[in-house]
Symmetry: D3
Subunit: 268 residues, 6 copies
């Protein structure tokens, strides 16, 4: 069960409106690696966890924090859209081409669909969808996913930082950068502990099943020579990589049977 | 530029048809973490890489291999669908309820849309989409993503292995397990080398920008006590985690301005 | 069965081309609350209705009218795109930055994919999809949905009206405004009649099933005090709202069982 | 900012596992009208509201409650999936066709992708997406949408109730039914207050703009006679409906100009 | 503008309910190549056509007919769902495993979301979307697309025909087969006329632009020898195909420049 | 199994960067009719083909070539994005409105998500999805689809050609035009051969099943007179088209039964 405090976790007010920056920030709200993806992934993983309390709690702590980040970014986008232009005549465009460019760079649905408030989309207006979320039941895999979520998100926040000189926006981004540092580090720590228990390969107990003669071979399918550099190096599981210059096709040529005529597979 | 050999990389022939297993294998073909996601992510990353040849080549080697995995799984699905039932009368269902269950457990589009061959979907018929792909320009983040792709994929292949006793299917899965071991290890190795160069936090050069006082604090937003276990532990960047029992709302209550009347935001 | 008259229901010709307005009008064609959503929702509801003829006919009358609105808006978009620029050199952009802004504000797929005609998308190019449609079998719920469809659509048409000064476009929008007034009113009327028969709560006959002690309690999960204003007010079903300042967590802490090892849920 | 209590708002434990019911409950979690749609719509509306505190708070109170409902349903699905079968040989299917039917009726991704826990999908595995969410800036329209969300959701919960005899599941559904009664009523109350202020037509101030001669005419586009019943009745705005038996095509036949040859619109 | 007749174009009543057949028919309603795709493609092409009246009218005639096919299939699905089971206890499943299989083979959303009526989805519940529609402005290309639409649809209708022995359903399918024969033929006729005017290559006037030395070469990128059979054959434009056994890589190895550091493309 | 050569099939280097052209080229990469659609359709068809080797090989040859086209276009987009602006202050926008328009016309995700490299999207940022792919098991239908893919693609490439004067970009487009000429011609040839075997109607053997009295009738559902021109003409199967001025509604008015009360279909 959740409770909400009207006060934000951190300041989310720009110095001045900037509707193009509002559009860009939609990535952090509704993009593939945005806060909504973090929120729904961590909460789902936390709710379904049946293992060690410390990982379950870590996921729920962080998933709950992310709802607050969704809130902050929504708030910021709303501020940035205040007073944004929604139309210009062709006469006005001629007289003020910079403003015309501003209008063209905005998301037209910000005004038309949302009345100059945030939507749950990326900057190109693609609706956020749960195909971005991961909750697999295997916490080693999912902790790795969580580290990626925080890495891609911090990368995007860094790029956003360099796309504005508004000190209010930057102040919020500096806070998010720090939280994404923490989240990368905490999920890495959890990942490492779990790897100690289950091994570095996910999932942990299939090594005696796999065809192990193919498990440490770097196969050269592209004619660049670069990847040969890994030959002989020691992998994280302690074994060495070998290199196969010309990987062979071991499987033979497949030959299926024609389908039943009732499928009408006219094939010549 | 690519060339194709008709012979498969490895055997992809089942001992006998099994249309429900065909449906399950669609996850490895067209699911969020299936081979198509690997193929398109690694190739995209490889094509756009401008850095060290060894990473670029590693990505192109592996991306090219994955096209062959897409081929193997498509082939296997085709074999598994051979001779599958496509309909039963209610009389027949009564007389053979096990076959009726088989028919109900199949993907009806396998027959209706694809003539008993594979489609580029997951087992629930959701079309594969590029929202599953990642290619960010930052190879530390993307190598991490690649490790996740191989981890989630190997997890699913392990589950698939336990869902069949067909030795032909299992033979192919044992091969895929091994390749996913190799791919996890090789991308981890690349990740580690890159982390040595850029640091463990992605991206590498924003530490003096972030509000560092929040960068190592585990904030307790959920009333479980589990995550306190991380307090005082050393994070991968060498600093210690602190723990904040009652994280405060530092941002104040936001207060936006009403929109221009032409937006018709009737709000009371 | 349907028949088509080439003549439009109402004038859909602008005074002059305006490709940015064409882009905006895509919202009314292929957006979440556009005419296609109305058309497919009302027709689906009408076709599946087995109750009173007057509601079935109302739905089919209006659904059929909406196909004609889809036609009008498609036609208008085509006119607005006539002669639109499709490219400029950087030299030309420098010499005519207003035209450059115009080009940047257009949907590039209007030219590239549709040859300067309409597509079934919203202004951000997101394809219309049937996740926008509602046809539930319950006409009280669906009449309410229809009122919403007409409300959100009329809101967007109002915003569109203020985004252009083209008298031809405005003439069409004034007509659509009026029709959306009618459609709001007619669906409200149907809704009210149905509410008289089934009660104001959808669906109608589950009151003796629900845990009624929670059915009129406004629970305060956010620390703002505003919603307390509803305390003691009389709800539409004649009962009074109560207010719970501190809603309790009644459900206990859930504790699931670990999954079978064959699921490989390595969880620590 | 949000805080989380591990204890659930209400009991979410079934008497016994039932993986087909787990699949059905995905509708309430990740379907078009499920709790996630409520959560994201109310929070988005609340965050972007700049008007009367009582509506803003009502939205945030309810949006926050819905996160807890998402949690309850995720938890229930996890319980219902405990010990679910994940595979059967054809021999086993023959010996236990009822279990075979059970396996065929499950969502195969529950095991394969989520390790027998919930996913953010509907029962057919379609990923939840933000095209289901509404936040328009106009609270009259959005309060109406919210009433629909609660109506469609309560309808589905009622259907779910009749699809199980598990008393634990039913207990949770009885609670949800009651909360959806409250939410229907509270949003209706807000809607009515706002209608008093702005009028019953959304948006409120465009009546002098629209072509009012078409604003109260029921046009007969389908040959059923049913809708004539509304003729002469008084609409909610106090005016009477008229009925047009043969609505005319007032717009003339459109005639566009051929596109520039560089668009290659070969049209005959 | 459109008008609707309540009577159907053709009989759409089954002899008896069959909810699994209802699910299969969703392909013809809301699948990639279903009637909705035909309806929206032909109408869009017709509305945007500025060329010869005969093609414009052909498109509008056929697009309008397709709305009636959408209606027929929706109606049929509704009939097929009448009285369908919506739940069984595990006891009942044991006692009647054939009925259990029937329940498992149905679309659970038919009952849960639509109250046992049709939805605008394919049999796997994927929402129809406008990514299936084509309207390019070039009628040669689009007439070809229309032939494909009718070909894939008639293929699916043929498969559906063999999946049922219900004479009522078959009667409707026999009608649809005939109409899809007509539609294939009429669009082929239009295509051929247009090809006579513009040439067989779409679009018509770019032959002096293309690098013509590559315009009739079958390049052998896969080691099968089969395609060599086309060598020397006369193509539809009168020229002969040549065959290149080992197509060369003519483009050199690309080498991009590293991005600006503000993009944080840490690449090694 | 596949192998990759780092050298491109053809030159893919522009004379100078042009981020708006980069955006447009995304259509050829990740749009409905782009190279990815070709690649996945031809490979899927080829892998699942069980008929004549010459068609199977033709599909695999061409599918493999298309991977190389995906590579070329990704490479070109990367070059075009080199050094692209990612932000401007409002001061800078005023001083250089042409550059501001350039920035507004770019895809903001090129910088923000991909670090100025290609994504698998169309120019509006919609993720490529497998709903664009066709592989039906029937090669007559699918060869027709393939001709359409190459027709729509060549149309778009022609439009792209006229949208740039960069000789490097044009050089690549001239090559693609030629390959799309070849691909149109080769798939037409295969289509014709298959039509000779199976007949011109897809699928081939249902003529004695269909209601043939409706199989050559052009029905006039739209009041334009244009399509009457087809009356009496000889269709490709040798029969003549007839024309029905007033197609009748032969199916009667449908009348469904009310659903079971447990579905709560309150309908009045
Ligand atoms: Ca290599
Ligand atoms: Ca905690
Ligand atoms: Ca409150
Ligand atoms: Ca009527
Ligand atoms: Ca070959
Ligand atoms: Ca006509």
């Amino acid at each position: 069960m959740f409770r909400h405090t009207r006060a934000l976790q951190y300041n989310a007010k720009p110095d001045r409106p900037d509707p193009i920056m509002a559009r860009r920030l939609q990535e952090a709200l509704g993009g593939q690696w945005g806060e909504t993806t973090g929120m729904m992934s961590y909460l789902s993983q936390g709710w379904s966890s049946t293992g060690d309390e410390k990982y379950k709690d870590l996921l729920l702590d962080t998933g709950t924090e992310e709802i607050g980040h969704v809130e902050m970014i929504s708030t910021m986008i709303g501020y940035l859209l205040e007073g944004a232009p929604t139309t210009m005549t062709s006469e006005e465009m001629k007289n003020d081409p910079a403003k015309a460019a501003l209008l063209s760079g905005m998301d037209p649905e910000h005004a038309l669909v949302h009345g100059l408030t945030a939507g749950l989309n990326n900057p190109n207006g693609a609706a956020w969808n749960a195909g971005y979320v991961t909750s697999s039941g295997n916490l080693v895999a999912d902790m790795r996913f969580n580290v990626v979520r925080e890495s891609e998100a911090r990368l995007q926040v860094s790029r956003l930082y360099d796309m504005t000189d508004d000190e209010g926006v930057r102040d919020m981004l500096k806070f998010l950068l720090a939280r994404e540092t923490q989240h990368q580090l905490q999920f890495m720590k959890a990942q490492e502990e779990l790897e100690e228990k289950y091994g570095v390969i996910v999932p942990g107990n299939m090594h005696d099943v796999e065809h192990s003669e193919f498990a440490h071979v770097l196969m050269n399918f592209s004619d660049g020579e670069g990847s040969r550099a890994f030959e002989g190096q020691v992998a994280k599981d302690g074994q060495k990589f070998t290199y196969q210059e010309n990987p062979e096709a071991m499987g033979g040529v497949p030959k299926g049977k024609p389908a039943d005529p009732r499928l009408h597979n006219d094939q010549g």
